[in-house]
């Protein structure tokens, strides 16, 4: 329960930040994709630069988290789903203006219509297992 609270708190913080960035705003996202507005590109560039610096500091100074567990640095090599999955996701993103996190933020911002996106994400996530096992017969990619 305590751990659940930590994740709840971080989710709340991240949801607040995404909302105040306009990262979940359909119109801001569209204007970014059309290169009319560089606001969200600016957010991405600043956050990526600082996160690179922050991660290299973490790697040098810390091996374990405050909870005592080892920090798991992900290995994400190119695999068979890297392009196909990203193209499918990109179409969904371009149509809805949402990614998995910002769909929930859109709901929280009062756009109840985005519940439709959220339900779609849950159904699409559930469709992955049967697709990969029975149709494509690819090894399952774990998301660490």
């Amino acid at each position: 329960v305590k751990r659940g609270f930590v994740h709840l708190a971080f989710g709340t913080l991240f949801g607040f930040v995404l909302a105040r960035n306009g990262a979940a705003d359909f119109d801001a996202m569209y204007e970014m994709f059309l290169f009319r507005d560089f606001h969200l590109f600016g957010v991405a560039i600043v956050s990526t630069g600082l996160t690179i610096a922050g991660f290299s500091w973490l790697r040098r100074t810390r091996s374990s988290s405050a909870a005592g567990s080892l920090i798991r640095w992900p290995k994400r090599p190119v695999h068979r789903g890297s392009i196909l999955g990203a193209v499918i996701f990109g179409v969904g993103w371009g149509v809805s203006g949402a990614c998995p996190g910002t769909a929930l933020v859109q709901v929280g911002q009062g756009h109840l219509i985005a519940l439709s996106t959220v339900v779609g994400i849950v159904v699409g996530t559930a469709a992955y297992d049967p697709l990969i096992r029975r149709v494509l017969k690819w090894p399952r990619v774990s998301c660490e």
Binding site: V1, F5, V6, H7, L8, A9, G11, T12, F14, G15, F16, A19, N21, G22, D25, D27, A28, E31, F33, F38, H39, V43, A44, V46, T48, G49, L50, T51, I52, G54, F55, R62, A66, S69, R72, R76, P77, G85, A86, V87, V91, W93, V95, G97, G108, Q109, I113, A114, S116, T117, V118, G120, I121, V122, G124, T125, A126, A127, V141, C143
Partner: protein, 206 residues
């Protein structure tokens, strides 16, 4: 027309805030930030446990099972170094089960945090649309928009699982770790998202 982003934080403040969350999260939880995987974990909680597979109820039981399997595979001499290895493995696995249950709370937090943001910044309540460009694209009938969003959501769910991450897990954390799969996927979904937007622009903005 006024740009939508003028209602939000300046880009530098937003970028700093995202980076603070992205770095603080592993510092506290030991995990890197990634949202799409959490939807998978959420479903995991509702998936039936495989029939006939081994079921363990405690760390001790798990440890005994691991030790037995180790002895079978490598012989009894592999266990000479007392049971430290077994204990560590059992602890890691029970911790894994625990975090599987607790991590999806992050998703609930995303909704809570954005509700708070909407309240403090007096966001206008528009439940049946996502914005002016959304209305232009899908018309004023919310049913059309909702159907389009469901299909798009389905693609988001399936696509992020296939790619092994989304805008946060690949785009923020994976890219910042210089992971080749994340760099390729991020470049691909940005390009695709832009292409789709330009296609809609060509169709509806005339």
């Amino acid at each position: 027309m006024e740009l939508a982003s003028t209602h939000f934080w300046p880009f530098w403040l937003g970028g700093i805030a995202v980076a603070v969350v992205a770095v603080a999260y592993p510092l506290v939880s030991g995990r890197l930030l990634g949202v799409s995987g959490l939807f998978d974990l959420l479903l995991e909680a509702f998936r039936p446990t495989p029939k006939g597979g081994p079921v363990v109820h405690s760390a001790d039981e798990l440890e005994a099972a691991i030790l037995a399997a180790t002895a079978e595979e490598f012989g009894e001499e592999a266990l000479v170094d007392d049971d430290v290895g077994g204990t560590v493995a059992a602890d890691a696995l029970t911790e894994e089960a625990d975090s599987t249950r607790s991590r999806p709370y992050f998703l609930l937090g995303l909704v809570l945090g954005s509700v708070v943001a909407a309240l403090v910044s007096n966001v206008e309540l528009r439940p049946a649309t996502l914005g002016a460009h959304f209305d232009q694209r899908f018309g004023s009938d919310p049913v059309v928009g909702a159907v389009a969003l469901f299909v798009a959501g389905w693609m988001i769910g399936l696509g992020t699982r296939l790619a092994g991450g989304c805008t946060s897990g690949h785009g923020i954390t994976g890219v910042a770790c210089f992971q080749s799969g994340s760099l390729l996927s991020t470049a691909t979904f940005w390009t695709t998202g832009a292409a789709v937007s330009w296609a809609f622009f060509a169709l509806v903005s005339q």
